[in-house]
Symmetry: C2
Subunit: 339 residues, 2 copies
């Protein structure tokens, strides 16, 4: 069955499209009798008024679109949890769109949200350079936009991020403090600032403590359990001299941990492991996984508050967008502490 449209009601009553549309919107030029007839017919034909379309006038839908790489990870689902709570309390509904790190999906998500006339978009981007022009389109349409965790810094858009440089530095410094000297780094091959910053923190910590930075001990790939296993397997195959692994993401760290245990290595006594993101499983595994907590709930809440402030200001694309940078929290557990 086709959906009932304004045209169907107009045909039924033998009046114009415009009369029906204005009657439905309680326009003063339309008589009370006509309004009553239109409403009765609309009800009888099961017409569902497109509130989004009629909200064109008020410019409000109270719906916010959120773009995330994936909700499969604790990190994003937890940030969204904090964000959603505050936004719901303020009368907003949230629609979520997963990009799966695909740029074409990200573009599609933005288009879907713009077509749905969302009141704003909150996004964690998949690619900074490649996706920039789609976000410029959002700003042209003056739809409020905010980035969280992953931002495009060249755009005048407010953001809530974490100090990834400091996080990478702290994680590496902790391993060094525990006596590890040959620390491998497993990171992403995605061209994203967050991973570059974690890497920069790792490198600077090594240099600060006069340890060499060995390019062969830096692995780039698609962060995952498998990538963690493969990277460690490669180091074992090549008999490389490593005594610790700092992975830029927890599942990757878990892969490294699993392979080392399988091969009979003692963690943390022989090899230390440090992850990133404080995924839910880290506290449950043996040895428990050291990691960096990114204050996800707080990031979600700060993002919501900043967004509400932005919507209230009406100046969505000002010259000095507010950029909140949260501090990471080091969470040393058993996998990096030999005693």
């Amino acid at each position: 069955m086709k959906k009932t449209t304004i045209h169907d009601i107009a045909r039924e009553l033998d009046v114009t499209f415009s009369t029906v549309a204005r009657a439905l919107n309680d326009h003063p030029a339309i008589s009370a009798a006509t309004k009553a007839a239109v409403l009765e017919t609309a009800k009888r034909l099961n017409y569902q008024q497109n509130k989004l379309a009629s909200s064109l006038r008020s410019g409000r839908t109270n719906v916010i679109g959120i773009i995330v790489p994936s909700l499969d990870t604790s990190f994003f689902s937890s940030v969204v949890h904090g964000l959603e709570k505050v936004m719901n309390e303020n009368g907003y509904s949230m629609l979520l769109y997963q990009t799966g790190e695909s740029l074409s999906q990200e573009q599609k998500g933005i288009e879907t949200f713009l077509q749905s006339r969302v009141d704003g978009i909150i996004s964690s981007v998949s690619g900074e350079v490649e996706i920039k022009e789609f976000y410029e389109q959002i700003s042209k349409r003056q739809v409020p936009l905010l980035f969280f965790d992953r931002a495009i810094n060249e755009l005048p858009v407010p953001s809530v991020t974490i100090n990834d440089y400091r996080a990478g530095f702290l994680a590496t410094e902790h391993l060094i403090g525990q006596g590890y000297k040959n620390i491998a780094h497993l990171t992403s091959d995605q061209n994203l600032t967050i991973f570059k910053e974690r890497f920069r923190g790792y490198r600077d910590a090594l240099q600060r403590y006069n340890l060499p930075v060995d390019e062969k001990m830096i692995f780039k790939g698609k962060l995952s359990l498998e990538f963690g296993k493969e990277s460690v397997q490669q180091m074992l195959d090549k008999q490389m001299n490593f005594d610790a692994v700092f992975a830029a993401e927890d599942y990757t760290a878990m892969g490294a941990l699993q392979l080392l245990l399988e091969k009979g290595y003692k963690v943390p006594e022989e090899i230390g492991i440090m992850g990133f993101a404080n995924e839910a499983f880290g506290a449950f595994v043996t040895p428990s996984l050291s990691t960096v907590d990114q204050q996800t709930i707080r990031m979600g809440e700060e993002t919501a508050h900043l967004f509400l402030k932005l919507i209230g200001s009406k100046d969505y694309y000002g010259t000095t967008p507010e950029r909140i940078v949260l501090d990471p929290i080091l969470l040393p557990r058993r996998s990096s502490q030999p005693d």
Copy 2:
């Protein structure tokens, strides 16, 4: 800055709303010159055509709304993953809405989707009896609807679920086969068929093997790590005679496991533990957590295929909706096998 509307374009060109609307929709009654002027003005004023509104005529948006209790659990994020993949390949975009098990949020999600004129709704419900009338509204509007995992069986709506009775039976039978005789059950206080069915499977398995069903060993609450800990703590406080715990959800099982290990009990030697849902952490913990796999990716794929079939059939609310029931897969790990 306010969004540009059809009214703004009409005012700018000193023509009627209807002329602009018809020009934008390439209506034959509007001259080529007027169309060109409207399009030029629309472009100049940065007008974004509401394709959803204009899709009223075709009745297609190619957007599907998915309602889930929460994406914080591997179960739902994994089902959605499988679902999204197939739907994307078929040209659909997916919008997600989390209810957090709240009935008012679920109602809001349905309304938001209907207002967005989605091409269909795929839902896993939070409450069966309470939410029934909202779903009846969807069927009145002839919007295609499909349930997954949690369905309202009284409605003539296709669904993809898992055989929860069989899952509960298999899990309990496995524990009995391993020599456990006093098996506690931790389940949800939500009024949902899935939990009632798992419980029924548990009870029938005990009876089949001539073991008593002890009401005091059945705990109902909000499934969570904390609930698992509290339930086991209560049994310990009351010095109850239990040698196994079957939890209707993995985090709850993990809470039970953690508390028992803290108190110095040996798992699985003294007490066996069985979870449900095959959360990601289960394989990583020590002892690894026995569980029931619900074939999440397959559930997502089957849901997508059934939905595509439904949309193709045009008979969205026929008298014999297709109901696919998947078989659960028992996944015995270390926590339930004393050897």
